[in-house]
């Protein structure tokens, strides 16, 4: 196990996040002789898509599917590349001078990088419905994580609700794992087809067309699918029922999902310029063709650069790594990126269709009344709407008024909701309203961790009296 004290004070390349983008980037750079460290806060590499890839207790390969096991090669490649891979390493800051703050096993260090690749991936879009904070209400991704990493399968009454490719994949995996799904509540608005259909030809050419159809058939054969327009989780200290369109179903576990969005916290705190993506309904970094950001030396690869999926993430990581290698070793011969770009283009082909088809309904993104918008500080949608109506113009002012976004999740679970609610109430757009101003530390660290930072004699003298 690598500890904080084992780290060098500087590396040519620091990769943050050990999913497909980070693993592919680190492997390529380290193999070319670039001194590379990869930090990931989880106990193992793989990110969310290949979660537990080196340690999963699931031996029946069919349960998770071959697309999951493809991650094993990526992990092995990174391990063999000579890159230093540090798991259990929480990156809590990154600044424009390319200094990376990391905490490992209770001790913190600042590491200087010459280049940084942020590969912090995505998280599931907020799904603010009444009762979404009740124990027993989880994201589909949470159940998938528990299945991949620990071999846990839901028991009792399990209801899956939402929209998006991951929802169907999770349902298939749970069913193969022996779970019983009471119902799949499909929230994708029927009218989405009108905008999706124009992109069907591209999607039909992508690898996801046949895979997706097979998945839908598999799930629909084993679980009832009900198209719904509204949804509520009911219970006192635990979810007991789900209510929708005047009906009720018993539920011990409600798994929610309405797409994934870039996990922007570290990139935004580093000062990287972001913009609103109106098709994917989220903020994403402004990047050049090598995934370089507005901050010189920092690239953002993988789904953190805009949602495109796990296979595309690895290709993006490779392109960012090659750009870093070119900058670090101008004299060395570096692989051409053309073949990688072609692969990436093929991967991205079907995305527009999926984005439009599974675009979450406005009502499930912009809650009303007593529904909690901010889970941490328990701020309701009504409070946010009222405040916007009396003149609050943006998320940062909203923080000062209501404390939304100021709890431990640092806005990860409410940021998009707050932006969209303000835009809706003020007849504005999310692009104009903007997002929370994020600052380091982007993950909580203890005072003891901060105090463990090495201090040079000159630094000590500077504050001594």
């Amino acid at each position: 196990m690598t500890e904080a004290a084992d780290l060098a004070s500087s590396y040519d390349l620091v990769v943050i996040g050990g999913g497909p983008a980070g693993l592919a980037a680190a492997a390529l750079a380290a193999r070319a002789g670039v001194s590379t460290v990869l930090f990931d806060e989880n106990p193992g590499v793989g990110g969310q898509i290949y979660r537990g890839i080196t340690s999963t207790p699931i031996t029946n390969r069919g349960v998770l599917g071959e697309d999951y096991w493809a991650g094993a090669a990526l992990a092995a490649e990174a391990k063999a590349s000579g890159a230093l891979i540090v798991t259990g390493a929480t990156v809590w800051s990154l600044d424009p001078s390319l200094q990376v703050g990391v905490a490992i096993a209770g001790r913190a260090r600042l590491v200087q990088a010459k280049r940084v690749i942020v590969a912090t991936g995505s998280l599931e879009r907020p799904f603010p419905i009444p009762g979404w904070t009740l124990p027993g209400v989880m994201t589909a991704g949470a159940a998938q994580t528990a299945l991949k990493a620990q071999g846990l399968v839901p028991k009792g009454h399990t209801v899956v609700a939402g929209a998006g490719p991951l929802l169907w994949l999770l349902a298939a995996q749970l069913l193969r794992g022996g779970a019983k799904i009471e119902a799949i509540l499909d929230t994708a608005p029927r009218l989405n087809w009108l905008r999706a259909v124009a992109h069907l030809p591209d999607f039909a050419l992508s690898a996801y067309w046949s895979k997706g159809l097979a998945l839908l058939r598999e799930v629909k054969a084993k679980a009832p699918v009900i198209r719904i327009a509204n949804l509520e989780a009911l219970g006192d200290d635990q979810v007991r029922e789900v209510a929708f369109d005047g009906r009720r179903l018993p539920a011990d576990l409600l798994l929610l999902h309405q797409g994934v969005v870039p996990n922007v916290n570290l990139a935004m705190a580093a000062g990287i310029e972001h913009r609103w993506n109106a098709r994917q309904l989220c903020f994403e970094p402004v990047l050049d063709e090598d995934f370089g950001s507005s901050v010189p030396g920092i690239a953002v690869a993988g789904d953190g650069a805009g949602i495109a999926g796990g296979t595309a993430a690895a290709e993006r990581g490779r392109i960012a790594a090659i750009a870093a290698m070119r900058a670090l070793r101008p004299e060395a011969a570096v692989a051409d990126t053309q073949a990688i770009r072609q692969k990436l283009q093929r991967e991205e082909m079907g995305r527009a269709f999926l984005d439009w088809l599974y675009r979450p309904a406005d009502a499930l993104r912009q809650p009303v009344g007593e529904t909690l918008a901010c889970r941490c500080e328990e701020v309701t949608a009504q409070q946010v709407r009222d405040m916007a109506r009396i003149g609050c113009e943006g998320p940062n002012q909203m923080k000062a008024f209501l404390r939304c976004g100021m709890g431990p999740c640092q806005g990860r679970l409410c940021g998009l909701t707050i932006t969209e609610l303000i835009a809706a109430e003020r007849d504005s757009t999310p692009a104009e309203v903007g997002y929370y101003r994020l600052r380091p530390p982007v993950k909580p660290i203890t005072l003891a961790e901060l105090a463990s930072l090495p201090i040079a004699e000159a630094e000590r003298k500077a504050v001594e009296r």
Binding site: N42, P43, P57, N263, R412
Partner: protein
């Protein structure tokens, strides 16, 4: 809410609020607690409402527990160790802890 699929491998023991539970090596604290049937990890400092893991990937912070005396740790990111002492958190953390 959850059961284990197939072979569960080597196990170890930890305590949650003083009560022993068995966990599998490779579990995170959150996974071990869910597998043991623990459906409440903390109550919120604002209203005292019960919370349990929502995301299992380190972004929602609803799985915060006290681990070996250090409060507000993300249970979904910390691997289990033999003898670990977990405490669920009730409302506001008491000063001085």
């Amino acid at each position: 809410m959850f059961r284990r699929l197939g072979d569960t491998g080597a196990t170890l023991t930890l305590t949650v609020d003083g009560k022993e539970i068995r966990a599998r090596i490779g579990d995170t604290v959150a996974a071990a607690m869910l597998a043991a049937g623990i459906g409440r990890f903390r109550t919120t400092p604002v209203s005292g409402a019960a919370r349990a893991p929502y995301c299992m990937m380190g972004v929602c912070f609803d799985c915060l527990v006290t681990i070996d005396g250090i409060g507000s740790r993300q249970a979904c990111l910390v691997p289990v160790r033999e003898g670990m002492a977990i405490e669920t958190q009730q409302g506001k953390r008491e000063a001085g802890r």
